[in-house]
Symmetry: none
Subunit: 240 residues, 2 copies
DNA sequence: TGACATTGTCACGATTTTGTAATAAAGGTG
DNA sequence: CACCTTTATTACAAAATCGTGACAATGTCA
């Protein structure tokens, strides 16, 4: 289990050289970096795994960076992703248009140092909004910052996959996930694993949660699984 | 039994042997496959019936696979079709050019296993899941997100088919469906099942709904069934 | 390097779900 | 009512799905 809450950054730029530079700079700063060479690839990448922040080039063939941002904003799942636009010097008006959709913009050329600073600033101000808050249901507590899980105060030991599974579940209670969706969001969209493998990990997670909480993860027959904190199990009839 | 509606794949390659191999592999994986031996044929095929995904050979006489992809992208109706380019080893630069228009590319030779996996991954991430609101009639509530049904707060246990049947009904109240239509929309249009089987499932669904709601599903004699939330039952006037 | 943890797949058994056929009911009609 | 159609029910066997333990491959760390 990784100690640090590594933040994922997705770089969207059509120039390999620029991506390379950004990737190196950000990885040295401790970020997990993914790259996309077009808006289209970016959208696919985002769907596969939602990044904590995106760096988007303003000028790109086909779909412009701006257009990409707009599309992201329209989708519920991606609307909250902090966006930083990369613009070339002289495109000053981009500021005006760009800031409507982006959270910040950076003018090329820029120093990696400045970039990382801006990026961290954005993350600081945007993360408090929910995602990093601890979640708790019935004594089962998950702390995203420390990446820890405890059951009634008792620390649990989860493998990375188990942790991510539980995090996804606990941040989306009552929602049924298909095995495919789980593969996308927990494993990442670019790995090819048997869907049946999900079952095994669910089993391991349940086991790790212990008898007290294992039944929080319900099986949705024919589909997948669901985290159901609201115990409606035994039909407690309260008169009609 | 196809849990999901069968996905249609269109293979575009000028070599019969390759098409044959791909077809066999994909059909075994449960896809519905069509073939086209040229870009022209492919365009015609696409017009006839839009596939869920296309496998396009990079090197083809006359119009290249890339050009085909571009044309598809230009057309509103076909722009959204996920495309996978097949490239021969060594055409690495295809990645760069190709990814602008294609969603993924696969280098020959490849294992059928990998192909199917990649294909499923693409379909997973490109299939949009619409915003789904819960539906409720007279205490009978269906939640598409959690894939749950409750009757006056009491959770019901439905099999996959029962759930899909009810979902179809509740999202189309007052509409009469023939058995054939139900088979198409609940079972998926490509399975051969006796129409009488629908009756049995209706029976099971009614039973699952319990006495309180079983009569919401009406029999339309000579046609099929209908979900009628507005209880306009004639006959027995409920004594006050 | 060796012990240990993690992960992806299988295979087998226990349950559920599903498709059909057979039989009972109900609806319509002259 | 007698007769023919269309549905409702029931019973069963085949098929699909899930839970689990085992195993091999790989990664991690002291």
């Amino acid at each position: 289990m990784s100690q640090q809450p590594t933040r994922r950054v997705l770089i969207v730029d059509d120039e390999p050289a620029v991506r390379e530079m950004l990737t190196v700079a950000l990885e040295m700063a401790g970020f997990e970096v993914r790259e996309a060479d077009s808006a289209q690839t970016a959208l696919a990448e985002v769907t596969a795994r939602i990044p904590d922040l995106m760096l988007v080039d303003w000028m790109m063939p086909n779909v412009s960076g701006l257009e990409l941002c707009r599309r992201l904003r329209r989708n519920q799942d991606t609307a909250e992703i902090p966006l930083i636009l990369l613009t070339a010097r002289g495109e000053e008006d981009a500021k005006i248009t760009g800031l409507d959709v982006a959270d910040d913009y950076i003018t090329k050329p820029f120093s990696p140092r400045e970039l990382v600073a801006r990026l961290k600033a954005i993350l600081r101000r945007t993360t408090p909004k929910g995602v990093e808050e601890p979640v708790e249901f019935d004594g089962l507590r998950l702390d995203p910052v420390g990446q820890r899980v405890s059951s009634h105060g008792q620390m649990l030991t989860l493998s990375p996959i188990e942790y991510r599974l539980l995090q996804l579940f606990m941040t989306h209670p009552e929602r049924a996930f298909s095995r495919g969706q789980l593969l996308d969001r927990v494993w990442g969209g670019d790995v090819y694993v048997e869907e049946r493998t999900v079952d095994v990990h669910i089993r391991r997670l349940r086991k790790a949660l212990g008898v007290r909480h294992e039944n929080l993860i319900e099986t949705v027959r024919g589909t997948g699984y669901r985290f159901a904190p609201i115990a409606v199990k035994s039909s407690a009839v309260v008169a009609g």
